[in-house]
């Protein structure tokens, strides 16, 4: 277990090297991109110094070598300081903190839909298919394949056309910040969340069904039946619990997809979240901002994978014994 944690830390370092190294290859100068070609050289030099590119605020000052800059940046990361955005002239932390609630809210919302609908539908599908309704199984098969294939942004466009234009249940641009209250905030996130969840639900349904059909054929199920255990109890207490490992794996995998999904979906519904922040950072060449966001999200993913591996041990005693 200690090994697993050390391994996560190593991965974190590699990710920081990758991200920082990539931005060293950037051909444009981010400061020039912000100020334009005819900027005041004194101001430009000061700005360069402020963001840590040069050693002193004078014009023509020597550049800080990349390695020193990397170490400084890394040190900042450990103090939870992601640097100062070039474009917004605010600390990346501050920018993130105003936008984080929206993205996190969206992610949690959509993850909840994924888990609840995905697992329940999956169990139901497994049950129905297992009792001989093969046409139903085939229909679900086709539907879930389409659900997985459909890109989030296209799904969202279809939802808008259906729910906002045809049925007129919700307004098209319905996003409200969380300060207006939890109710309106969540209401504004319904469409984005279900758009992200289309793929997730389909994927989870497939996994749950496959895992459960496998388990349903096993000996302990037959034994439980012969003991007279009710079918629902078999399904939820015995079979679901035993097929939890692949389900938990796929739920963990979903997290990365939900993050990328929300990056795209925020653009569709103009939700001011991390995704829109990142795109504006990319369009203005703000390397410090983009680096910060990337490291932040990657760290979340690394921690998720770590928690996932630790969860396996909790769920399945067999793994605990092995390691």
């Amino acid at each position: 277990m200690v090994k697993r944690i050390l391994y996560s830390i190593l991965t974190f370092f590699l990710v920081t090297v990758l991200i920082f190294g990539l931005f060293l290859l950037m051909p444009q100068d981010p400061i020039k991109m912000k100020l334009g070609d005819e900027a005041d050289p004194v101001f430009e030099a000061a700005l360069r110094y402020k963001h840590g590119f040069t050693v002193s605020p004078e014009i023509g000052a020597a550049e800080v070598p990349p390695l020193t800059r990397y170490l400084k940046w890394l040190g900042g990361l450990f103090r939870l300081d992601l640097g100062t955005s070039i474009r917004y002239d605010k600390s990346v932390n501050e920018l993130l903190s105003t936008r984080l609630p929206n993205t996190v809210g969206l992610a949690i919302f959509s993850f909840t839909i994924d888990v609840i609908l995905g697992i329940t539908l999956g169990v139901l599908v497994a049950k129905v298919t297992n009792s001989g309704h093969y046409t139903f199984g085939a229909a679900i098969n086709i539907l879930t394949q389409i659900g997985i294939a459909i890109p989030v942004f296209f799904a969202s466009i279809l939802w808008i056309l259906l729910i906002c234009i045809k049925l007129k249940w919700l307004p098209v641009t319905g996003f409200k910040p969380i300060e207006t209250g939890l109710g309106p905030f969540l209401k504004g996130l319904i469409l984005p969340a279900i758009s992200i969840s289309v793929g997730g639900i389909s994927l989870i349904v497939r996994y749950v069904r496959n895992a459960m059909t496998e388990e349903l054929a096993s000996d302990y199920v037959r034994c439980a039946r012969s003991k007279g255990v009710s079918e629902t109890r078999i399904l939820f207490r015995h079979v679901l619990r035993n097929s939890l490992i692949p389900i938990v794996t796929i739920l963990g995998m979903r997290l990365a997809s939900i993050i990328t999904g929300s990056i795209v979906i925020e653009q569709v519904y103009s939700v001011p979240g991390i995704g829109t922040l990142m795109i504006s950072g990319i369009n203005s060449g703000d390397c410090i901002l983009v680096q910060g966001i990337c490291v932040y999200i990657s760290t979340v993913v690394i921690i998720t994978y770590l928690v996932l591996d630790l969860l396996y041990m909790v769920i399945d005693p067999r793994i605990r014994v092995k390691t």
Binding site: L10, T11, F23, I150, I157, T260, I282, V301, Y305
Partner: protein, 300 residues
């Protein structure tokens, strides 16, 4: 119900492999979906209903012509026109070229690099193996779309950056899948025999082990293709991928973004194309893995 086997007709197709392929539903469905796109794309090299980049301000935002009027109307736009009067069907057809160009080059390059890396890792073992595998793991922790966006930020937007970014996303997948299977095959007796008779290890790697993992590589390629198409579409949709005046399905959706509530067809056509492509490659990949008996899990 037991079928009367004495009356069962022998299949008309004599070739056993072909019969097996034709009977695999997943493969055939995926293959047919892709054939629609491939034929459409091939035709677009020689003929499109209109010039895909020609502006026609007289026929802006024309809705799709109903089928009944195809023979009578003078300006037939089967899929309508966009806000500057370009024929959407023509643009969708040309976008197919972009999708396959990006898909083929990314999957091709990623396959070559990824498989070579995997063989090196498995061949040398030790710290080379460790380094390569840790790097692929690190890559796994950066969500792929975010990585592609980052690349667009560093190297500028455009088709070339998109291709490089997607290739780099796909390489670790090939490496992981290939390496896992190479390690499995290396334990087989017939490979251990080659050590016994003193064969060159590199030769064994490429001539004896590689052909045995080929089926896994093919299935991975099919799934990788679907991811390439999807990532390209997402990136272009965000305005960070293929740049105008070039058309891709994603950038067509991006252009339709402001108008689709009034003119839904502008978004539905390109969106459907992306879905068909991704669906086709996914389903065909499933079929291939059944046919070749190769298990590939995306998250392995």
């Amino acid at each position: 119900m037991a079928k009367d086997i004495t009356k069962a007709k022998p299949s008309r197709i004599k070739n056993r492999t072909l019969r097996k392929i034709l009977r695999n539903r997943n493969f055939m469905v995926g293959f047919c979906l892709l054939m629609i796109l491939i034929i459409m794309t091939l035709v677009s090299f020689f003929w499109t209903p209109y010039d895909p980049n020609e502006l026609d301000l007289m026929s802006r935002k024309l809705r799709p012509t109903p089928i009944a009027q195809w023979s009578t109307a003078e300006n037939v736009h089967i899929a309508g026109t966009d806000d500057v009067g370009r024929d959407i069907l023509s643009r969708i057809m040309v976008s197919g070229q972009k999708a396959f160009q990006i898909g083929l080059s990314c999957v091709g390059m990623a396959m070559v690099f990824g498989v070579t890396l995997a063989l090196f890792a498995a061949y040398f073992g030790g710290w080379v193996d460790n380094l390569i595998m840790r790097l692929t793991d690190a890559f796994k922790s950066i969500p792929s779309l975010m990585f592609a966006m980052m690349m667009a930020g560093v190297f500028g937007k455009g088709t070339r950056t998109t291709i490089i970014a997607i290739t780099m996303i796909l390489i670790p997948q090939f490496t992981r899948m290939t390496r896992a299977n190479v390690l499995k095959i290396r334990e087989r007796e017939y490979i251990q025999w080659t050590t016994l008779i003193g064969m060159n290890k590199l030769r064994v790697m490429f001539l004896h082990i590689l052909p045995n993992v080929l089926s896994v590589i093919i299935v991975t390629a099919s799934l990788a293709f679907s991811e390439a198409v999807l990532t390209e579409a997402s990136l272009s949709y965000l305005g960070l991928g293929v740049q105008p005046p070039d058309a891709s399905w994603g950038s067509l959706l991006n252009a339709a973004q402001a108008l689709f509530t009034i003119y839904p067809y502008m978004a539905i056509w390109p969106g459907m194309m992306v879905t068909i492509a991704v669906l086709g490659f996914n389903v065909m990949g499933d079929g291939l893995s059944e046919l070749l008996n190769a298990k590939v899990s995306k998250e392995a």
